[in-house]
């Protein structure tokens, strides 16, 4: 491997580590600003000596710097502490909830890709037509509609009025349909708009004219030649959107009582369970760092120029 490549990779890893450290520090500080957890755990009538005993048991009476170093040590050894309300290991609780969020994000992103990419390609290949305007309007709507409202409307229509689908919770593939649809709307619109723009640029390139002149079928020109070259920004946005969905599934999980990380985060915030909130923030930060790394790797695979 060339020295310049090693330097570049090292620099990138260092910058990702610095981002992670900043996120961890912010999570720690925010946890300390959220009021006294002993009030929530013991209620307002607990005597001060009991409150102090619990503060000691939780390590809250230690100097903040010591608490911070303990916290960092825990994070880097995989120990994200214990929940104040559930009295369980935060790591195991996150592990329990993660599959549900992954299901939701996986299904939502897959739906977004399945609809967003063809929609974008359709708009780009029929630029200026009603197809283009229709697809662009749909994409704009998808990005403008509040997820929370859209989810509630789907529940009212499909669960309460028509009774076709469950109103929420999990348990069967049917339970996934409405949450996944709600989850997919924003990334679908984003992907459609980006695909349209990226494909329009690709279709205007001379190699496309050359391919057409060689008598290659339109379908092949679009998918094999134009789409392959337009994929780079789409891939980037798909990976980054996946990260956003993973940490931003709160609204959808809240609307549908989906038992994922978002729901857990909300309950932790409501109870001022700051070790759990911190653990979820740390996990989110780790996911982002890993996904950013993945974007870099994908770029180098898809486009040899960035290697």
């Amino acid at each position: 491997m060339k020295a310049s490549t090693v330097r570049r990779v090292g620099g990138r890893l260092a910058s990702l580590f610095a981002s992670l450290l900043i996120a961890l520090s912010l999570a720690f500080l925010l946890g300390r600003l959220s009021g006294d957890p002993t009030a929530t755990i013991l209620g307002p009538l607990a005597p001060p000596e009991q409150r102090e005993a619990l503060r000691h048991q939780l390590g809250l009476d230690l100097p903040v710097l010591v608490q911070y170093l303990d916290y960092l040590k825990g994070v880097f050894t995989g120990d994200l502490g214990q929940s104040l309300q559930f009295y369980q290991s935060n790591t195991s609780m996150i592990a329990d909830r993660l599959p549900f969020t992954l299901q939701l994000v996986g299904a939502g992103m897959a739906l977004a890709l399945l609809v967003g990419i063809p929609l974008g390609v359709l708009a780009a290949t029929r630029e200026g037509t009603w197809w283009d305007r229709g697809a662009s309007t749909l994409a704009l709507l998808g990005q403008s509609v509040p997820v929370f409202w859209f989810g509630m409307m789907l529940v009212v229509l499909f669960a309460v009025k028509l009774g076709w689908l469950p109103a929420g919770q999990s348990g069967s593939p049917k339970h996934l349909i409405l949450p996944a649809l709600t989850m997919s709307v924003y990334p679908m619109a984003h992907i459609a708009r980006l695909t349209r723009a990226s494909m329009s640029d690709a279709l205007a390139e001379p190699y496309i004219d050359s391919a057409r002149a060689r008598g290659i079928s339109t379908r092949r020109v679009i998918w094999r030649h134009a789409f392959t070259n337009a994929m780079m920004p789409i891939l980037t946005i798909v990976v980054l959107q996946t990260g956003i969905l993973l940490s931003g599934a709160v609204a959808v999980e809240y609307v549908y009582s989906w038992p994922g990380l978002g729901q857990l985060a909300l309950q932790a915030i409501q109870f001022r369970d700051f070790p759990l909130v911190q653990a979820i923030v740390v996990f989110g930060a780790l996911v982002f760092v890993v996904l950013n790394l993945l974007v870099d790797v994908l770029h180098s695979i898809v486009d040899p120029r960035v290697r």
């Binding site: 929530t40 013991l42 009991q50 739906l111």
Partner: protein
Amino acid sequence: MMIMKSLRSRRFLALAAALTVASAGLTGCGGSDSDNSGSSGTAPIRALLAAQPATLDPIVGARSAQIVWATMLEPLINTGNDLAPTDTGLVTSWTRTDATTWTFKVRPDISFSNGEKADAAAVANTITLTRDSAASQLKSYFGNVTAIEAPDATTVVVKTKTPQYDIPDLLATVYLVPPKYYQEKGSEGFAAAPVGTGPYVWSGANAGRDISVKKNPDYWGTKATNEGVTFTWANEAAQRLALIQSKSVDVSFDLPPAQASAAKSAGVNVVSTETAIKIVAFLDSTKAPFNDPKLREAAALAIDRDAIVKGIFDGQAVADAGLLNVKPGQQPTQSVTADAAKAKELVGGANPTVQITYPAAQYTNIEEVSQAVGGSLEKAGFKVSYVPLDYGTLVKRIIGRQVPGISIFAGVPNVAVPDYFVSGFMKTKSITGNCPDPQIDTLAQQALEQNDAQQANPIYEQLNTIGVVQKHCYVPLYRQVFNYATGPGVSGVVFGPLNTVDFTKTTR
């Protein structure tokens, strides 16, 4: 290479399609289908809560989870409809041997569902854990208890430092745990699979999704008429309404006023029950402006609790005139009636400044209630500022005596004894400490030294009159109403004012 190819062709879309199918398939794995809206009599009752229950360990757990653990565990002493102790539970009788000694008789031949004996030693162990565990929710209730002994299999002796008539009442909120199992498993292990003597036994849980209990075939009392209960939860109130409307659950708890009205309009059966949760405005008599008794009286006369209940809650709360009337439906003999004109006259032209501190988003409509209190005070001539705080910070400031003016928050009693509010809010060394008065301290001690609740009641009436009517340190506002909805054909859900639910007679 496969990945490369997938990325470089339409297989990208095929991959997305496969991902969708896989996600849908995965949701079907490892759990029950909670959308089973069938009406089979043997299927468990599906109960929907407002939040995932915190730990199911009754020693350290928040009382909000009691609705779940109380299906498996039982209180040491049962209570009747009037919340007074009865002899129908695990403890069948009690006598006060002397002023500071209580002797309890435990029902013989009762076992926990794991086979451990639920005898006097188990009862003594549970009371000791409640008194001594650092994170015990009820530790402060048992601070006066000096000794707990089990001289034989059916006798428990509890000794207190000073006389305390309400020990049996307090035991009504202590839930019996099996000593060996609890010690072996610890708090976390016990919460993962609780064991008790109740009408249901632990069946299982899907992390983050549901908790199930099934009928205890060996229950010592009247056995449940259903096969079990499955608890799920939804934080969002509109979801709780949608789930009951779509028949995905049999009973949906904790519907706020707006959702309760919507449910009623949609033809859903909604039950509203007055709870013991009291919302009170506390006036700090140790600091300006309310170190002036005239201004405290003005504030008490300015605040119109009836208007708050009517205007903000539309009947979904009950105006409450007293501080120590702990039982739902009970009102004090003396109270303060709003009189805006007199309040204005008392304030005069001084235009004093009042700060109103309240826990933002902690209780239903608390923001509107605080604004209404502030509006009434402004009409009387006060200059008002608002300090919304998160609950934890508010409690910390109250304990630190850093809340001048008015603070509004709830008293959520775990047990229906007036001393809960006297010790918490009225004594000089109470949590709020907003009304220090040696007479209150003396009367509080006198009340506890009485033989029973009947003898103590006149003293509590006197204390209420001093705090609310004479000194105006407390302006009681209202009691919360708890709404829950039941699905078609569902009956027999019995909700108690102290957050207990009896599912044993529930059918669908």
